[in-house]
Amino acid sequence: MGEKAEKTAIERFKSEPLIFERSSKGRAGVLPPAPDVPSVCPEDVLPAGFLRGDIEGFPEVSEGDCVRHYTRLSQMNIGVDSAMYPLGSCTMKYNPKVNEDTSRLSGFSALHPYQPEELCQGALGLMHELEGYLCEISGMDAVTLQGAAGAQGELCGLLMAGAYFRAKGRPRLKVLIPDTAHGTNPASSSLAGFSVVRVASGSDGVIHPEDVKKLMDRDTAALLLTNPNTLGLFEENIMEIADIVHSKGGLLYCDGANMNALMGIMKLGDMGVDLVQMNLHKTFSTPHGGGGPGSGPLGVKKALVPYLPVPRIRKKGRRFALDFNKKKSIGRLKAFYGHFSIMVRAYTYIRLMGYRGLRRASEMAVLNANYMKERLKKSYHLPFDRTCMHECVLSDRLQTPKGVTTLDIAKRLIDYGFHPPTIYFPFLVQGAMMIEPTETEGVETLDDFMEAMEAIAKEAEENPRLLKDAPHTTRISRVDETWAAREPVLRWTGEKLKIHSGCSKSSRCKASRSEE
């Protein structure tokens, strides 16, 4: 083989064409059954103006080609099963395989949402029981499972808070949100019609009662707290803060995204929390699926129960029924009843773990994070040096003098076989690296990860270029996100990739800086 041919062949191996480029006229990957009823011609039953022409560019591939295409794509991914994935605030714990089997049982997967209730007793019973488990774990009085993901559960809570004050005849239009909050908190608040007032964290990384006191008034519906917060710190003043919020008639909302630190150790309901959304795809081991589907149940205290979305699941004797008739309800949040098959996975997980397993999970999640923090603070700047919960936040302050940033460290970690942590969040810490090991990583893996981090810190001193050019071991090198944003190509059109040398060059030299 000539050198050029060899190079082309290797390039071909390294990249996978789009499914549209693999297409050839006349191929098929699956055949619909032959009709057993008289064939109806669309032209005979639909007006000509309602009919479509050819779908240009639509793929035509064999099953084998299709399966190989997507299998090759899968190989360009890292998942929790392939490597430690310490993405802070995302709780990338191992997902038990049996979850996948139970959720696929035909008694669950082939169930139509509009079947008569008497045919769905198993599903309704499971949901009812899961609501009860989540109440017990969070310390709340009732749970709705309707939220499709954390952000929708959160929106649900905020809409309920709005309805709660409207029903009292005194609508409230503001919410307080700490500067360390997830972006969904302010986004959901404004969707729910609230204006957002920012609460600054103290120099110790947590919220202080006096700051809340200054901002909390009778126009403020709620304070949205994340506990543990996104710095991985326990909001230790939560009881006092809850008292201040309650004394003005307000509600304490907790973003339960970080509940993996608390199970069986404390209950948010005991801390004065009135509403909390939980993320089944974080704490309760349901897989993230490359970005979803998740599930975001919401737990509330008694005073808010009337405002929960419909339908509610009601137990009548030994039978379960859907109750649509709730006068004060905020209405329906989602079509049907929520992400049922994700609920089955979470239910499976809770039954596997039991009360002891859940507590053990939280304890080990906290131990793992502290174990990492203690050692890594020797090679990386640790902005808040105190006992952390399930995650810790480092920064690139010790590396920036050499021109090495968090982005470079993250990309270099890939070469060492790890998924990078969450980077540049929370905004409070410049060049943040938010590391959440989760309880499912054993001590050997943590040691390996820390050795990699230490080796990278050393490389940053001795050979910064190595980091600036990382990753070196992936099929593609560092991706130019600036180019993608400047000239958006959001779908395949059959056109060849256009490379404007000028543009790519200018953004290439600054690619790392754009993320700072």
Binding site: C66, A110, G354, P488, W492
Partner: protein
């Protein structure tokens, strides 16, 4: 307390824990947890069952699942936004690749090209199906996609009033109301034509004004009827408003003219039909597509094509400044986690089916539904609306004159109709009474490739029996 038998998903041995505690500088895990205020620490264990082995849990879940009877056990003629379609085996094999299903949102493109390229393909497929220019990476479901489309139309037009067709899925209308309740609802509904079953253009004209942001129609609509999208588009555009078309049965797009060709501005919908199990209502797959000039107002994630440092084609999340993690309270939506894996399933489904298969399957659905209509007509069942339909339509379970004066304690004729079918192993469709009080003897019936001729004949035979006795 029983002696612990170890935890399969937590690798720590007691020795590991001692070693780690030493490194942290504490005597025990309990000591580490002393940062919690003592008054808040739980004194006793959670009131939950003890853990079980995998074998026991699997047995338990099998038992629970056996407490349901499903579309696999019955002949089901249910649709109404969730469709029983065949799912090719290859799909589950691919989405069960753990590199796909155990990964997170593709924030680090160098180790997520698989997810990113698959979503880019998904976006392209959605554009091809709908005839639109850009698609996002998915939304939760058809209902929230519709609500998000309404919010988007309000942003683009800077106008408030929203008109929903009453032939839009009732649950979608409810969700839109919930989503908009925070921003002052502003929703009006326009009635459908009781004869044709489609949105009344005159009614739309009557409520359209210069403050109207958008009209939402479903096509085919909740009754299965095909809407005249082009005619509605003209009325809407006259007032500088946007037309949103919701699609709950996207298989129809195998034969129906795509909304993008008939003046639609935003298509929102549900793509559960494309390779996603019914799952008792979720997770399904919300999608949204629009014209290129609106892309910056779209909610949700978007994948774009780019190059790596060596000039090789690659993909990454793009236009992220619209999103909550950057724009916070000014974001186009609060959505973060979406339906990534289901978008992958959809892409694989459409790729497998291919151009020919898609058209053929759509025609098969059309044929099955028309056969069902014909068989039911033959035994005296009337179709409620005259509009052309794809794979579902509304039937009347009884002549109005024959209807007995119903009392609360007495089951209605529709209930009896469906109960009789159920006894014969047939889920006969969705009674519309709960959503449309005036359609109290009406049932929405759906037929797909999953309904064999035998099943359809069986349905008609049972109905004939009921009608003859009545």
């Amino acid at each position: 307390m029983k002696k612990s038998r170890g935890f399969p998903y937590i690798p720590h041995t007691e020795e590991d824990i001692r070693r780690m505690c030493r490194a942290v500088g504490v005597g025990s895990v309990d000591e580490l947890l002393d940062i919690f205020p003592a008054g808040l620490r739980l004194k006793g264990p959670l009131n939950l069952p003890d853990g079980l082995s995998e074998q026991e849990v699997k047995g338990l879940l099998e038992k629970i699942s056996a407490g349901n009877s499903t579309t696999a056990d019955y002949s089901s003629f249910l649709g109404a936004g969730a469709y029983n379609h065949y799912i090719p085996s290859a799909i589950d094999r691919i989405i069960s690749r753990s590199e796909f299903y155990t990964s997170y949102t593709p924030y680090q493109p160098e180790v997520s090209q698989g997810t990113l390229q698959a979503i880019f393909e998904y976006q392209t497929l959605i554009c091809q199906m709908t005839g639109m220019e850009v698609s996002n990476a998915s939304l939760y479901d058809g209902a929230s996609a519709t609500a998000e489309a309404v919010l988007m139309a309000r942003r683009i037009t800077a106008k408030k009033k929203v008109i929903l067709s009453s032939a839009l899925h009732p649950e979608y209308r409810q969700v839109a109301r919930t989503y908009l309740s925070g921003a002052g609802d502003g929703i009006e509904e326009v009635f459908y034509c009781t004869e044709k079953g489609t949105t009344l253009p005159e009614a739309v004209k009557a409520v359209m004004d210069n403050d109207t942001a958008c009209l939402v129609v479903q096509h085919p609509n909740f009754f299965g009827c095909c809407e005249d999208v082009a005619a509605l588009a003209d009325i809407v555009h006259e007032k500088k408003a946007l037309l949103i078309v919701t699609v709950t049965e996207p298989l129809s797009l195998g034969i129906l003219r795509p909304p993008g060709e008939t003046g639609c501005d935003i298509v929102a919908g549900e793509a559960q039909s494309f390779g996603i199990p019914l799952n008792y209502g979720g997770p399904h797959l919300g999608f949204m597509a629009t014209g290129g000039r609106n892309s910056r107002q779209m909610p949700g994630r978007i994948v774009g094509q780019t190059i790596d440092r060596k000039g090789a084609r690659s993909f990454c999340l793009t236009m992220a400044t619209r999103e909550q993690h950057i724009r916070r309270e000014k974001a186009t939506s609060n959505i973060c986690t979406n339906q990534g894996l289901n978008a992958l399933a959809c892409a694989v489904y459409l790729a497998l089916l291919g151009k020919g298969g898609l058209v053929e399957l759509a025609r098969l659905n059309l044929s099955k539904a028309h056969y069902l209509k014909e068989r039911l007509a033959a035994v005296g069942v009337k179709t409620a609306f005259s509009s052309p339909f794809f794979n579902e339509f509304v039937i009347e379970t009884e002549e109005p004159a024959k209807q007995p004066a119903s009392t609360a304690s007495q089951p209605s004729s529709t209930e009896r109709f469906l109960k009789t079918l159920l006894k014969k192993g047939i889920i006969g469709g969705l009674s519309l009474k709960r959503f449309y009080p005036s359609l109290d003897r009406h049932v929405l019936v759906t037929a797909t490739e999953m309904n064999s001729k035998e099943e359809i004949d069986g349905y008609a035979a049972v109905v004939a029996d009921v009608f003859l006795k009545a």
